[in-house]
């Protein structure tokens, strides 16, 4: 043993920190159109290369190229762009409303809007998403009424969740959007269970599970992969790799010299690594995975490469741990700008339409916020009743909770 030098602990670091720019070469990008598209019934072990390359459709000029370029109508493209814009406008407004203390907390999805939007458009009605707190684009794509969402954010008298949940922890069953948990990753394995249930019942609905790069370290990520593989569950396992988990870089979650997609292959699950800022690539990869799941071919894990452009939440200041202008150097760009460029390029969109749409959406969000404010905000005290606090702990309220409610006098 003496011939061995002392061991030392390796603690991974990001390539950039406040004061010096990030070297993004660690991302190992492929060129648009470069990566092959296997048949949907490919064996999981035959997707191994796809876990290390990057499925991309839009090139730098905004042209859709290669085998993954999807067949998609201009209407759907415009609908997608609009949903992404709505997500971004909504987020920006809500960040302001939080600063105005109309709600206690907010989490935006800036830079990640393409993923949920295109994925939702590829899913069918009845399919169930098990999201994290950063998939509001799923709700926008499914046109959930904004007033309902804002009432949840404001914890006001019309909050569908009766004031119980932190802002953004929505639950919208009818839009295929599972109740968000504050405990990271728990939904990932639950989605597998939902998909297994669909299979047990001989249904045709599938589940779509969501998780961040950081949260893949939690055990529910592993159990989800295991159970999904063992029972060939009809589920899509989405890993949104936005490079950061609060202040920690994706290498602290295990992204160094490997990919999150590669975890899937190891577990016997078909896996893809996809440009998450490329609306068309997201749509195409989602379609591929959805088709597999719905044809009883089992789960697909998709790592979506993107960048968390904003702070983690309204409680966070990212300039403390990464270059303040990092996003502007991120090589996969802005998903919204890229789709807009594509639509203009193929002649189905214009700067003017864009501006008009932007203004209309902004007006829509403002109007919804106004309406929601009529039902109260956390700070003005028009919140759900204290007696609602005792309800729904059980289906029927047991005696001890009735006594406690009485004790409080509500």
């Amino acid at each position: 043993m003496n011939q061995h030098p002392p061991l030392h602990l390796h603690v991974p670091e990001p390539t950039g920190r406040p004061g010096h720019d990030t070297d993004f070469s660690y991302l190992h990008l492929s060129r648009a159109g470069e990566v092959r598209r296997p048949p949907v019934d490919a064996l999981p072990s035959d997707t191994s290369d796809l876990a290390y390359t990057l499925v991309r459709v839009l090139d730098d000029e905004g042209c859709a190229i290669g085998p993954w370029a999807p067949d998609i109508t201009p209407d759907l493209l415009r609908f997608g762009l609009r949903a992404m814009m709505k997500t971004r406008i909504f987020d920006a407004r809500m960040v302001i409303a939080q600063r105005q203390k109309k709600m206690s907390f907010y989490m935006q999805s800036l830079g990640e809007e393409a993923i949920g939007t295109a994925h939702a458009l590829a899913l069918s009605e009845g399919d169930m998403c098990f999201p994290t707190y950063r998939q509001q684009s799923l709700l926008m794509a499914r046109e959930v009424p904004l007033v309902d969402l804002i009432c949840q954010l404001f914890s006001n008298e019309h909050d569908p969740l009766k004031g119980r949940q932190l802002p953004v922890m929505y639950s919208v069953r009818k839009a295929g959007f599972f109740s968000i948990s504050g405990n990271l990753a728990t939904q990932f394995i639950q989605a597998v269970g939902w998909g297994m249930a669909s299979a047990i019942k001989g249904d045709t609905k599938i589940a779509s599970a969501w998780i961040g790069d950081g949260a893949t370290a939690e055990s529910d990520f592993h159990t989800a992969l295991t159970f999904a593989h063992v029972y060939r569950a009809p589920v899509i396992l989405n890993v949104v790799n936005n490079q950061w988990a609060i202040s920690t870089f994706q290498t602290i979650a295990g992204g160094e010299s490997t990919t999150f997609a590669a975890r899937g292959v190891g577990c016997g699950i078909a896996s893809l690594r996809v440009d998450g800022n490329d609306f068309l690539a997201v749509y195409a990869a989602s379609q591929w995975a959805i088709e597999r799941a719905r044809s009883n071919l089992g789960p697909t894990l998709i790592e979506w490469l993107t960048y968390r452009a904003g702070p983690h939440s309204t409680s966070d200041d990212p300039s403390k741990y990464r270059p303040a202008d990092d996003w502007s150097h991120f090589p996969l760009g802005d998903p919204l700008a890229r789709l807009k460029q594509h639509l203009i390029g193929i002649g189905v969109w214009s700067e003017q339409e864009h501006q008009e749409t932007h203004d209309a959406l902004e007006a829509e969000v403002i109007a919804a916020q106004k309406e929601a404010e009529r039902y109260g905000t956390l700070s003005d005290g028009r919140i759900p009743s204290a007696s609602a606090m005792f309800e729904d702990v059980y289906k029927e309220m047991p005696a001890h909770l009735r006594r406690q409610r009485q004790e409080l006098g509500v």
Binding site: M128, K162, R164, S179, W194, D220, F227
Partner: protein, 355 residues
């Protein structure tokens, strides 16, 4: 005074089915069989429960009868098992899962406490988790520290959960059916030392089989024992013993052997609780002993003591005593020094009578 004198409640005796002698294992299996038959949404899974039928054989034959997509083996991941069950519940199924030993519920603690227990509340009924989590618990089989624990207190501290523990085959089947039908998540603890007979703590005596006990006579079909209802297992006037699971029989032995006319209440539903039955008894007797297998500190006995002194303070003639497992891991060789047997319970009964 020798034979068990548990009073049947009206709702229980109503059942008209023919009764068959069953062990607790057979009774539990029968409950699952009945529910698999009655409700398409019932599914059963867990480690070794499928082809083999479980290490305690509670699910033996159910896969062969109901098919592989209703009854199946699961990977060794308690967190995964419960997480999957929560998702299935959200879909609309009624999963009944087995954790091989209650000691192995800890890897599932987050899915139980943060998810199953909270889903209805946090989603304002948008989604629910009507699952039943079966787990053998308790000691007396030389299982050592990881096959002997009684973690019920932990679950009772988690609002949104129901925690149930039967003490005999009749209740086991009726409570398990009630648990499966219940729309709340239920932790269903099975005292493994009672699987084959009404063990009263006299480990040096031959095992009495359930066939020799009236509560081993179990209707073959559907019936329920309602949740939140305790049973007066043995009426008495000297003092009240609050117990559940194996300790019901230990307390009965202690009463018999000390000659103290104890009223033994079998909680059956540990939480939410049938407080009325408890309060009525203690107000009548003025004395109370709480007995459980679990370690003492912050065990469910503490909650029982707190409730009794809150509700019966002016009726109490002596301090309430707790007879419990010691605050040590469950040892292997010293099992019978650890287990609160009839001698220790009897001594407490005497102390409380003399106080």
């Amino acid at each position: 005074m020798n034979a068990p004198t548990r009073m049947m409640r009206a709702d229980e005796s109503a059942t008209k089915h023919t009764k068959t002698p069953m062990t607790m294992i057979q009774a539990l299996r029968s409950a699952m069989d009945v529910m698999l038959e009655r409700d398409d949404n019932v599914v059963i899974f867990g480690e070794d429960v499928g082809y083999f039928g479980g290490v305690f054989r509670c699910t033996e034959g159910l896969q062969a009868k109901h098919g592989k997509s209703r009854v199946f083996d699961a990977p060794i991941s308690e967190g995964g098992i419960v997480g999957v069950a929560v998702g299935m519940g959200a879909y609309g199924l009624r999963p009944v899962v087995e954790i091989q030993f209650a000691d192995y519920s800890y890897p599932a603690f987050d899915q139980i406490a943060s998810e199953a227990a909270r889903l209805r509340y946090r989603s304002a009924c948008d989604f629910t988790a009507p699952l039943t989590i079966r787990m053998p618990c308790g000691g007396g089989i030389y299982g050592g520290q990881t096959h002997s624990q009684s973690p019920e207190a932990l679950f009772t501290h988690v609002c949104g959960l129901r925690t149930v523990m039967p003490s005999n085959p009749y209740d086991a089947k009726g409570l398990l059916i009630a648990a499966i039908e219940c729309d709340d998540p239920v932790i269903f603890l099975e005292p493994k030392r009672l699987y084959n007979g009404p063990f009263d703590g006299h480990h040096d005596q031959p095992v009495v089989p359930w066939t020799k006990h009236p509560l081993g006579a179990v209707p073959e079909g559907y019936y329920t024992v309602p949740l939140e209802s305790a049973a007066v297992f043995r009426p008495g006037k000297d003092l009240t013993v609050l117990a559940y699971g194996t300790m019901v029989f230990v307390a009965e032995a202690a009463a018999r052997e000390t000659g103290i006319d104890a009223e033994i209440i079998d909680l059956r539903s540990i939480w939410p609780l049938d407080l009325d039955t408890i309060v009525a008894s203690v107000k009548k007797t003025g004395r109370c002993v709480v007995v459980h297998e679990a370690t003492r500190t912050s065990g469910f006995g503490a909650e029982l003591v707190a409730l009794v002194q809150e509700h019966c303070f002016y009726h109490l003639e002596a301090p309430i005593e707790r007879v419990t497992g010691w605050d040590t891991p469950y040892p292997h060789a010293q099992e019978w020094a650890y287990f609160a047997g009839p001698k220790r319970v009897g001594a407490a009964l005497k102390r409380v009578m003399e106080a």
